[in-house]
């Protein structure tokens, strides 16, 4: 019994353009964690340059606002934002959503992982549930999305992965052990991906921002503060130049250098 006829030629929905065919300039991107902060700024900047950008976040309202904002700003370049609601803790949803987005975009050139949470942690707080939640967003989400994109990029032998990590991964400070651990793990994971994928012509760029004017830094003692727009501009610039690891702004690289040189018995006496 024939349930339905599959002997017909390729359906239009599946006659997807070949990744290697001359692509529509300038590019197609997925930005995970695009409702605020650096992620939102990256999505906005790409769209304004004419990119097709799938913008993902938990908060649908913020995404719609971003899309509406870009609609006018991008009118001349042809760029656009495709908003998609997604919680990065839902790893099982990723393969399906990734496939749908790449098909909607007509291919993929860049994946940006910018989702992260940094809840306040009290000095004597050791809350496993809270810590694992943080790990699930900052690291689990990164692995889920980068793995999905890595498979596509490896097989099409092109593409860029851009991960927004943090200076916080440089040393294990007292303040927020698991936030720092999640960023250190992300750095390690992205470095390994870079080494794996370089053979296939795929680039992986890790960004380690210092203080950026976002929800994360609000109400905290900060210095050298830059805007999210500035951080986004510098991050995209680093990715385009094929930089492996970039501190944003670059002077944080010196801070990181000093940080790693401080001996442990001194480091533990420091207040930050």
């Amino acid at each position: 019994m024939a349930v339905h006829d599959l002997t017909e030629p390729a359906t239009a929905a599946h006659a997807a353009p070949i990744a290697a065919s001359p692509r529509t300039p300038p590019g197609r991107a997925i930005v995970v964690g695009a409702s605020s902060g650096i992620g939102a700024a990256i999505a906005r900047q790409l769209a304004c340059e004419g990119w097709q950008v799938a913008a993902l976040a938990r908060r649908a309202g913020d995404l719609d606002r971003l899309a509406a904002e870009c609609r006018d700003a991008c009118a001349s370049t042809g760029g656009r934002i495709l908003p998609a609601r997604h919680d990065v803790r839902d790893a099982e949803e990723i393969p399906e959503l990734f496939e749908r987005l790449v098909r909607d975009l007509g291919g993929l050139d860049l994946l940006v992982f910018a989702a992260a949470v940094m809840p306040d942690v009290a000095p004597a707080e050791y809350d496993t549930a809270k810590d694992l939640e943080m790990l699930s967003v900052n690291l689990g989400g990164c692995i889920g999305w980068c793995n999905a994109a890595a498979v596509l990029f490896r097989t099409q032998r092109s593409g860029t992965l851009l991960g927004i990590s943090s200076i916080a991964g440089a040393r294990g400070r007292k303040g927020n052990p698991v936030y720092g651990a999640s960023k250190a793990a992300m750095d390690h994971y992205l470095e390994a991906l870079r080494n794996r994928l370089s053979e296939a012509g795929v680039h992986v760029c890790t960004i380690r921002p210092g203080f950026v004017d976002t929800a994360m830094t609000r109400g905290k003692k900060v210095f050298w503060l830059i805007s999210a727009e500035e951080a986004a501009r510098r991050s995209l610039d680093a990715a385009r130049r094929g930089v492996n690891v970039r501190y944003v702004p670059r002077r944080w690289g010196l801070v990181a250098l000093v940080l790693v040189l401080i001996p442990s018995f001194v480091f533990r006496k420091l207040s930050f």
């Binding site: 599959l6 359906t11 599946h14 290697a20 596509l152 097989t155």
Partner: protein
Amino acid sequence: MARTAVRASPRRAAAEGPPVPRSWELVEGWGMAVGAPSRVLRPRSIEELVRCFEIARQDRVPLGPRGTGNSYGDASVNGAGHVLELSRMNRILGWSPETGIAEVEPGVTVEQLWKRILPDGWWPRVVSGTMFPTLGGALAANIHGKNNFKVGTIGDATLEFDLVLPSGEVRTCSRERDADLFHAAIGGFGLLGVFSRIVLATKRVHSGDLRVRGISTRNLREMMAAFEAGRGRADYLVGWIDCFPAGDASGRGLVHLGQHLEPGEDPHPEQTLSVEHQELPAKILGLFPKSEAWRILRLFNNDPGMRLINAAKYLAGRIEGMGEPHLQPHAAFAFLLDYVPNWKWAYGREPVRRGLIQYQPFVPSAAAHDVFQDLLARCRRAGHVPYLGVFKRHRPDPFWLTHAVDGWSFAMDFKVSPERREGLWRLCAEMTEVVLAAGGRFYFAKDLVITSRDARRFFPPEKLAAFERLKRELDPEGLLQTDLWRRAFAGA
């Protein structure tokens, strides 16, 4: 007819269990000249495999079976639907060092098999020129090796298999049981069902080394004479051909004749039979990492460069031909294509746009020499000279859609680029006329150019009709499809 029901009904199974691992990726033929982005499903069990059929049904798209994607053309590409990759069903289910019989899941690779059985003194009866194909894919393509003239194809070494049909039914087939399906599914390119279990006979060996002799030949006629002279005593015979020179030197090359050692000839078989003894060196001259060697080959990937490399290899062959036979590990002799990892990237790294195709006609003995010389001349005239030519001797086998003839095959690697593509396809069409007129055949694991009209001319009509009847019976919805199916079967 033997029928075994799968445990859960397919409809129910679709809703049960964790999701089948999947990804969205560019699925290309090994030669990179064809490919399409697809959802790739990677079942880990028969239950998940049956669930993949259900997923394709629900999405109303066909499903294309694939192993590790080592066929040159579009045999495991499915641009119209999902791809069913069997590489995660890769357990060796049973192995008996007493009888040399192995029972494997379809995703077990040639590499896994030889590494498991060689230390016990066995070697696969039939292997491909690379160790990375899966045995499921190998059986679906009915692959042959350098010993085709002597032992036949991998189908000839297969005792039994289980085939999962699109209905979810699992059929056990052998020469005695469901013999029609046995002879149709081997070489059936996954279009009737998907292998879930394969039982293979292997060959007893008394050493991890082979005795190998190089015979330099100044033209095709000499090469064929060397094959015929060596056929009685050789276990393996393979010829390499420099396709560039014309005239009297047309078809010049190098024959390698391999022989198994007799018991007692190898004083330390336990040492040579070890996997370590077989491993190919990871560095060239101990210095340069092999993983980067393709970048050097790339510099030569043009007509003058390949003319030079082929000439250098021919000269090296003349020197080798003067020497004595030498010992070489099985893996080093068998898996020539694995010496330089990713060497195909020398052809370019823009999937679908750049790459290579292999064109491998199989021609009956009497006509072979003149046909192949004619083809070589046409290649040179058209300005598409193959960068690699490989020559083999074959024998017929009983499988319905077999490519094998009592004769010879000449595999030619052609560079594909956007500028060359159209002309190359025209040349292939012209060559196909010559081959078909001589009663020749083609082999779909290597092919990207044969049309369904061509295929209808070289398959025995009654065998093709029987195959198509089975296809309609076992897969009435047309669930199992590949680009190959749509190109070379369904189009007529």
